[in-house]
Amino acid sequence: MEYALHQHGRAAIEFLADLRILSDRLEQLADARTAATRPANAELPAGIDALHATLTPLLEDVPEFRLLRLCRDWTLEQHGSLAMAAFEEIRDEVTAELDRLQQQPHAVHYADHPPRPAYWEGYEFHKSAGGWDGHDYMGFVHGELIHRKMVNPNFAGMIYAVRKSVAAAAPVTDPLRILEIGCCSGQYTQGIAEVFPDARISACDLSARQLEQAQRYANEHGLNWELFQAGGEATGQPDDHFDLVTSYAVFHELPTAAAAEVLRECLRVTRPGGYTVIGDVKAYHAFDAYDRWKNDYWNQVHGGDPYWREYASTSLADLALAAGFAEASWEGLGPHQYPFVLIARKAGNGHTT
């Protein structure tokens, strides 16, 4: 939908987004300043704790690195409240249209007793104030103001293409039914719909507010999505039902035990011979030692992502095979090996029922 931020909210968001991007040069300066003093990659320890013991004091002694951390801490801690403040400036102008887009034809099926797993409840993801549901229009605040206006510029505007690349990597032809686990505000759902325009797409999430934003997008664009409130551990969908079960950027938000549980549910609802395809951030084994430390430092330690390390250190292929899939691979896409994608096939050659 069309909307325009007011001057203060617009300028504040642009300032934060640009500070995040422009301060990145401090990372290169810190890299260069420590290049001669830090051990070469081949000499660095493999374990993440040992890497921190070696590299963290070295880098934190560099002024440019500490300034970079100050900038990143500030942007992380401010972005949620700043986005909500920008929303308040336009609330009276946009809520009628936001509410209208929540009318039919496509509704959200709310759970009577939505699950509240410990990894989700009260969790301020990426240090974003309010969590997933902490605002009456959090789906719009997160999907539009945070993701589209703050996060996407930091990925050079490519974040939606990256999501779509995961759907395009699915080895399925003309799937009839697709289930997305953890659809949030529907950004990956859009990519799935673009890659498979004729498929019937179902999508679930724990967050009612995020589902409502996905619903608005579907209604605005005439997309026949079935949106329902559920966790990936128990979708309530029939056995052997979907040609493709997929998700993007969900598994790094899950502890390993929950990830294994979700994969067992994926297996249950995937049809025999069908695929589960899970896209997410890059695995640690695909980094050299120094970049692995940086990835852990900025995401696990300072990024507000408490399960990042668990995810990035645990083979999703092994988890999928343990769940019962017949075949599974977990590899990075393209020259940068990003994102990482699990492609898991369920045994059998059945057709959609």
């Binding site: 325009a4 007011h6 422009l22 401090l26």
Partner: protein, 84 residues
Amino acid sequence: MTDTTPNLRNVDIDRLGKALLTLAGEVWTLRDRQRILEAVLEAQGIAVSDALERYQPDTELAAQLAEQRAAFIEALLRSLENGD
């Protein structure tokens, strides 16, 4: 893992304070100028406060603002960097 290592150590506090004062001075100058501009225009019968709030920059102005914002952020970062 909880990391309480300070981002800026004591040696940087003076530099940080000066940068914040520089920033505060720039922010106040702009607030002062904007309020005077609105008062001047309103005295001439042009009510601009609401129009300013709702104004959407066109492509050219947005590009100018982006360039000036980048220069502003770079200046702020330089003032905080050691040895500058």
